[in-house]
């Protein structure tokens, strides 16, 4: 514990991180379970601990559109949303990434209607991987706070200029409390300078932004966008090291590898469930099992190299995600499998999907996954739903 220790929820940590990043304008629409973020930010503006304008936008689509207006003038924008709101602004996500506006947005991962559920799963953001945003998934409130600050540094890099989504699990992280270390403002200021860019309107150099292209030119802009987000991998890793050097916390870049070196089975997963997996790993290792975790932090850009590196060591991978692409498999699983294609290795992979609409993924569930992976030579089905509360008989 230090003077800077705070006992806060994930939402509160996000708000604190946003305040430290010194955004110029906040435009956000409340939606459970993100509401505490916007409420705290409003408090900070009222008590003058944050010098920013709060636009009381009338919808999420407007929240992102306003953020684009802010960015278009060269100012720093912040917004936050979840599920239905994220989808409501979906058109604007493509717009912002195409326009190369380095907006930072927190997304509280929450299940998408129908059925309605305010509880967490990862279907909202995983369904938008193609929107051109950098996407990171946080394991705890400390990482959430730290990632908001890192997000601006990475997004605003002139070679990146890509908007950045910081995902935290709804309720599990947004509303649970943990002690965090609050970085000092001067150190953050030193790490994150003022946003400077040529990608803006100004009186010194009047520009026309967000123009249209004929078929002769469109692909070139898309290619440049793709290359920039790929380039961000270097920037992500460099920023992680720099942040760790200053603030004492490293997150190891695109992925984090926990006890995979000699593992017989590795779970590949993202978000808060990583914490549960670590606990199970420690318990099972005491019992003699050799199991490990590959925590995917960034889904975009995708950590192809890290996935391939693991595959050289471990030939039994289970991808665990709170998501399903109906009619096929989980999106994270598709991404992981694709990264493994072309490698001349014998790898066994399986997709474990669960945690929908806030269903808990317990230590027992994780243990069963590891046992399933270790005891079965081959798998009958590619995709398995876990945490079933009744029998899933033939329909």
């Amino acid at each position: 514990m230090t003077n800077n220790t705070r006992f806060v929820s994930g939402d509160e940590a996000i708000a604190m991180g946003a305040r430290l990043a010194r955004p110029n304008v906040i435009s956000a629409y409340p939606i459970t379970p993100q509401t505490i973020v916007v409420e705290r930010l409003s408090d900070y503006i009222e008590n003058k601990s944050l010098d920013a304008e709060f636009l009381h936008v009338e919808s999420e689509h407007t929240a992102m559109a306003a953020a684009m207006g802010v960015s278009s003038i060269g100012a720093r924008a912040f917004t936050a949303t979840s599920s239905q709101g994220l989808l409501h602004m979906a058109e604007c996500l493509h717009y912002a990434s195409g326009a190369r506006f380095p907006i930072v947005m927190m997304n509280a991962n929450r299940s998408l209607a129908v059925p309605w559920s305010i509880y967490g799963d990862q279907r909202d953001s995983l369904g938008l991987l193609d929107s051109g945003w950098i996407q990171v998934y946080c394991e705890d409130a400390q990482e959430a706070l730290d990632m908001i600050i890192q997000a601006y540094k990475i997004a605003e890099n002139p070679e990146v200029l890509t908007p950045f989504m910081v995902n935290i699990d709804g309720f599990v992280l947004t509303h649970t409390y943990e002690p965090i270390e609050l970085p000092e403002q001067e150190l953050v200021d030193g790490f994150l300078p003022k946003y400077e860019t040529l990608n803006k309107m100004s009186f010194e150099e009047p520009k026309s932004l967000c123009f249209s292209t004929s078929p002769e030119d469109n692909q070139e802009f898309k290619y440049m966008q793709d290359m920039a987000i790929l380039k961000s991998i270097d920037v992500i890793e460099k920023t992680d090291r720099e942040y760790g050097d200053i603030f004492g916390r490293y997150y190891y870049g695109m992925t984090e590898n926990y006890k995979c070196e000699d593992a017989d089975a590795v779970i590949v997963t993202l978000g808060s469930v990583c914490g549960t997996v670590r606990t199970v790993i420690d318990q099972m290792r005491d019992e003699g099992y050799k199991v490990g975790l590959l925590k995917i932090r960034y889904m975009r850009p995708f950590p192809i190299e890290d996935i391939r590196d693991i595959a050289l060591k471990v030939s039994n991978l289970g991808v665990l995600e709170k998501n399903i692409s109906f009619g096929y498999e989980g999106t994270v699983y598709t991404n992981v499998n694709s990264a493994l294609s072309g490698l001349d290795l014998k790898i066994k992979t399986k997709n474990y999907v669960g945690g929908f609409g806030g269903r808990d993924i317990s230590k027992e569930d994780i243990r069963e996954i590891y046992i399933d992976m270790i005891e079965n030579e081959s798998f009958n089905n590619r995709v398995e739903y876990i945490g079933k509360e009744c029998e899933y008989n033939e329909l």
């Binding site: 195409g98 326009a99 190369r100 200029l161 040529l198 990608n199 803006k200 150099e205 009047p206 520009k207 026309s208 932004l209 967000c210 123009f211 292209t213 002769e216 030119d217 070139e220 802009f221 290619y223 440049m224």
Partner: protein, 99 residues
Amino acid sequence: MRPKVRKYIRPKKISEYPNTPAYESGHLVSINAGWRTFIPIVDSKKCIGCLQCYLLCPDGVIGRTEEDKVNIDYDYCKGCGICAQVCKFNAIEMKKEDK
């Protein structure tokens, strides 16, 4: 006062493109003269300099001269005929253009 058309060379390398979709305002690479069927001709003897044609040209091609009369940028005139129509002094005539 009025932007001029510039010579535009298509990029041969992708690095010659602007690296974001933001481009210099007032950058023109093509003219609109080819749209015309009729061309407005100003009779400056009849023109009293009321500036209604200048005011109401949708394309802004009618400019003011030093003598408070008007001239026309034929690179960008589309021949719509509004100038001739609004002129109360019959100082502009729309003539069929020989191409």
